[in-house]
């Protein structure tokens, strides 16, 4: 029964499945290590800075070790333990992608080395996580109801410079300035914008999140749905600027492709991580994603 549900997201030839599995775990552990490097400065004046530095170096060693098949499972187990410690320490302030990382690393540890059936189980679960995440993100926006008139995006412009910069392309400067001047106080507002394009973008956000999952699941619509979903994630991240969550979601979406697209794009993903790492350690100035 579960196998049939998992197969709704597609099936892979054994060789492709093995390749997808190996590439994904390499990318995930590299991203986790770089993310810890990026967060390190925030711990500089905190009591557990020494422990945090140790975690960062251990995660870096694991990200290197995972490239050798024999060391992959110990590396994953070590990273899972680190993530669990980090997660417990930050709770309840954890970002949602920290939950996702825990789940992904935990699932990557599940298959025995070389067991094609167990690998298929995990890759199917990964693909389901994409559609569940997208669908629930859209459903939550629908249920909270702050997207119908663009209220949330107006609020985001007021509170987040990244959103203000993004919407400068379509809104008059005076309107952006008005929103940026609003505070959270009784009577503050209105968090609304008289622009049909702005309201359309707002509604396209939740409609897209609800529409893309069935398109990814249906075999006939899957080929166009994959680039559409990736394009959609790029559009979201233009405002949210969450590079780790965004790239993780793109890599999960690419698992829907017939071939191992993550492997083909491996140099691009690694270059992106190297760039973020260079920003994190101060070799390059911070730009855009910060």
């Amino acid at each position: 029964m579960l196998e049939r549900v998992l197969e709704l997201t597609g099936t892979d030839a054994p060789g492709i499945a093995a390749s997808k599995f190996v590439t994904f775990r390499r990318l995930l552990l590299a991203a986790i290590a770089v993310e810890l490097w990026e967060l390190l400065p925030y711990w500089a004046d905190k009591p557990h800075f020494g422990l945090q530095r140790l975690l960062v170096w251990a995660a870096t060693a694991a990200a290197v070790a995972v490239w050798w098949e024999r060391l992959a499972r110990p590396a994953l187990a070590a990273v899972l333990a680190m993530l669990a410690v980090d997660f417990a320490r930050a709770f309840p302030l954890n970002a949602n992608h920290q939950y996702l990382e825990l789940i992904l690393v935990g699932l990557l540890l599940l298959p025995r080395p070389g067991d094609a059936r167990e690998r298929t189980l995990v890759l199917g679960a990964f693909r389901w996580l994409v559609v569940l995440g997208l669908f629930h993100a859209g459903l939550q926006k629908l249920l909270h109801g702050y997207y119908f008139g663009g209220e949330f995006l107006a609020y985001a412009i007021a509170r987040n410079e990244a959103f203000a910069a993004l919407f400068r392309w379509i809104l008059p400067a005076g309107e952006i300035a008005r929103l940026e001047g609003l505070q959270v106080a009784a009577g503050a507002g209105p968090f609304r914008v008289e622009s049909w394009l702005f309201v359309a973008i707002s509604n396209a956000t939740w409609v897209g999140e609800l529409a893309l999952p069935p398109l990814l699941l249906w075999t006939k619509t899957r080929p166009p749905a994959i680039p559409l979903t990736i394009l959609y994630i790029f559009a979201i991240e233009a405002g949210a600027r969450e590079i780790f969550f965004g790239s993780m979601m793109v890599q999960l979406v690419l698992l829907y492709c017939r071939s191992d697209m993550n492997r083909r794009l491996l140099p691009v993903f690694l270059a992106l991580l190297a760039y973020v790492l260079a920003m994190a350690v101060g070799w390059l100035p911070k730009w855009y994603f910060s």
Binding site: E3, L107, A186
Partner: protein, 154 residues
């Protein structure tokens, strides 16, 4: 672990991921949990929560606004941070007891949690108050049911 158990683990995990956001939404509505936290996929679905704390004490039958003494401000700030995340699942009883120990002359205390909400009808922020009332005696704060509308100052 056998394949059967692994299949069960994966199925249970996916079931939990599929159902949890609905429970998360219900908890946000009922108890005002932080929608951005707890893996409900509700980041960017609603504004981040904002709250303020107000304090009213009763001394010899007279109610007056209480400005927290310096030594209690860190505890109140910590409570406010936790309250934003946990909403009404985290009442301010411990903070009330700390205030009771510092205000032996007071026999009553009200803590008002003011929560700012973006009103969808007006697109403006408004606030909702939740009042916690206590009888103070011997350095302890005993919660009592709040009668009547909340009475936040200001």
């Amino acid at each position: 672990m056998s394949y059967r158990w692994k299949r069960l683990a994966v199925g249970s995990l996916l079931g939990a991921v599929a159902l949890w956001p609905l429970a998360h939404h219900a908890a946000v509505r009922l108890w005002h949990l932080d929608p951005w936290r707890f893996f409900g996929w509700a980041m960017y679905a609603a504004p981040t929560p904002y709250i303020e704390l107000h304090f009213v004490e009763r001394v010899e039958g007279q109610f007056r606004v209480l400005q927290l003494p310096q030594e209690l401000r860190a505890q109140a700030a910590a409570y406010a941070n936790a309250r934003v995340r946990w909403g009404e699942l985290y009442p301010p009883h411990a903070l009330a007891r700390a205030i009771a120990r510092h205000r032996p002359q007071a026999d009553g205390l009200a803590i008002v949690v003011r929560r700012y909400v973006l009103d969808r009808a007006t697109s403006r922020f408004r606030y909702e108050d939740r009042q916690y009332s206590y009888r103070l005696a011997g350095g302890d704060a005993i919660p009592i049911p709040t009668v009547g509308p909340p009475q936040a100052p200001g």
